[in-house]
Symmetry: C2
Subunit: 378 residues, 2 copies
């Protein structure tokens, strides 16, 4: 299967600015720059509210699963000593808490949703790392590498079950509705991983396929994070659906930026190697967009990547060889198209917020988080 | 850790009848033998009601997960051709459907519960087979063996998510309550697998530990099957709890019989090798009970199994060598104790039914299913 969607390919091939080490994504939207929202504080608040409940939930796991999970979350090191690992950006908990406020409820109302979403996200990391053979995550050895494949499977399963437990144990009607939305997101997440695995074995992936996969892997759970607090706060389906749309689009913007950082990100900021996604032969958005664009650079890139796929020497490629591929992707317009795609999704995300009423302050914060997602450097 | 519970060990060591090829478990209880319940028909009805809904749910999975799941359920063979595989005894669907009737609802009301429980059961089989390295199930190669470890993980995850989707999509308050009970059962199932894995690496397991593990791995989900239909039918917590108790005890009886069949079962009936559990060095109930019994046979068995654990020649052991170990287990009282344990759990299961009111006909059918579970030969 190799049907490229010309229509959705790069619009301005060859116009990329070369030599920059960070992606070109737009400045914050006017709506947010007018207000003074402190995004760091927003993220910190989500983390502060969710982490104690998350830790208490993980503590319920029977040994040795509690220890394995604590290692995964970075709370202890491989030897079992307390650690203060990188828990990630905590965008999802911040969104889940804001989501409750969007429905007029207290931020705390969103916490079981925030924790459930984090548990599902981490279940998928545990299983995906094993399936993909990834040995490192957040600068540390992955769970299957330290504790073995069985523990990665088992603890992933346990976090999955725990997500529904945390959500449903309040016994409220809202919790049942929230769990239903979480189920939809989880199924999409699994579909996305299935697509990711199947694309690995294919020479060509279309832009549409790549976007669908990223929507499943990143968009769906972010959509759930953005609606789950509101559902727990008693929001109607129309409100929850609009918030989901915001979250889904935000997820696509997030992933487009991730794909840019995966190639042109600053290693000091991302903590990844240079040209990280190219080294892993990832068919990420800039690559598929460049291949779909047509033209001399696109064709040269296609021939080069086809040769690379057969090369036995790929692992010993020099910095320059990867840089040459990155330059071709850029020349074919893959970098610009992806940055523009992030902008487009950012815009539609914010438009979704206009479909519903919510406190102005909450809207500003959601806009600020959307801005943060597209301008971040890690 | 090697604390044996003498008090819960075999009560009548050395009195087992040797040379029988089937376990000694009591005849059907008087209550059921007085009525004329056709258990085969009951099982068939559960299967007939649940299978179409189960197949429709599995059909929702994105390729290739739908195919992998269909292979697992025995609906197609490894080449993708339609097959009519052994779908198991279908005790759980029959119980879930009866459970709805116990609450005065129509059998159909229990179907989403029956399907959800089957999906959770099969998620655990997919993952457990991979973790345990089991290459065969129901006379066929396991999923990880045919489709690879990633598909076993992924499709297991998908069935897990599908279980909650099927249950919650009705959107009823009862579905939320049912999902909550399913969560408890799923968490216990995972705890049981964690215990099973950790016991593999230990020389000694107590009878209490073995019972706890079997309660988690078999009892909890059977408990859920027995209550989920009633919950969907609007039963109160007291009714659901009593049905859970019946199911949990029934699960322990079921597992005790399974453990007897795992050593002394007729290979033609079970489809397993002779002395199957001994070949796999399983620390099943007859073994741990025999080791806990004390006395000359128990001590000889302990020394022999300790030697076996170090033996490099274990895989080439003859029929006679396994038969000698089985005879020692029997002489130490492990076989009798396990048969008695099945009887005890069977009795307490039926006693739990007396705690609540239900139509007499439904009660007779639940009793008949309990009888079936302890007298079955496969």
């Amino acid at each position: 299967m190799s049907v490229d969607l010309q229509g959705t390919g790069p619009r301005t091939p060859g116009t990329a600015t070369r030599g920059e080490s960070v992606p070109t994504v737009p400045p914050a939207s006017p709506a947010a720059s007018e207000t003074a929202v402190d995004v760091t504080e927003l993220l910190e608040r989500g983390r502060t509210l969710a982490t104690p409940v998350l830790r208490a939930a993980v503590d319920r796991l029977a040994p040795p699963m509690d220890t394995v999970a604590a290692y995964h979350f970075g709370w202890i090191d491989a030897a079992g000593n307390p650690a203060d690992g990188d828990g990630g950006k905590a965008v999802r908990p911040a969104l889940a808490v804001l989501s409750a406020q969007a429905a007029g409820a207290a931020p705390e109302v969103g916490v079981p949703g925030a924790v459930a979403v984090e548990l599902v996200h981490n279940f998928s990391l545990l299983h995906d790392d094993l399936m993909d053979g990834d040995e490192q995550r957040r600068h540390r050895d992955t769970v299957w590498k330290v504790h073995g494949p069985s523990q990665a499977i088992l603890v992933g399963d346990a976090l999955f079950a725990l997500a529904y437990e945390v959500l449903l144990e309040t016994g409220s009607v809202e919790a049942g509705r929230a769990a239903r939305r979480l189920t939809t997101a989880t199924r999409a997440l699994i579909d996305g991983q299935a697509q990711d695995i199947s694309y690995e074995h294919r020479e060509r992936v279309t832009v549409a396929e790549c976007l669908e996969m990223e929507g499943n892997k990143t968009g769906a759970l972010l959509a759930c994070a953005c609606s789950i607090g509101a559902v727990l706060g008693g929001a109607d389906d129309r409100t929850a659906d609009a918030l989901e749309k915001y979250g889904y689009r935000l997820g696509l913007a997030f992933q487009a930026v991730d794909d840019l950082l995966g190639i042109w990100g600053d290693p000091d900021a991302t903590g990844k190697q240079t040209w990280s996604d190219l080294r892993q032969r990832k068919k990420s958005l800039p690559v598929v967009a460049a291949l779909a664009a047509g033209g001399p650079a696109s064709e040269r890139l296609g021939r080069l990547l086809a040769e690379d796929a057969k090369s036995s020497d790929f692992e010993n490629f020099s910095e320059e060889e990867f840089a040459a591929r990155a330059a071709l992707i850029e020349e074919a317009g893959g970098r610009d198209w992806t940055a523009e795609e992030a902008r487009r999704q950012h815009t539609t995300a914010i438009e979704a917020l206009d479909e519903i009423r919510m406190p102005g302050e909450v809207r500003d914060q959601l806009v600020a988080l959307a801005d943060f997602v597209v301008v971040r450097k890690r």
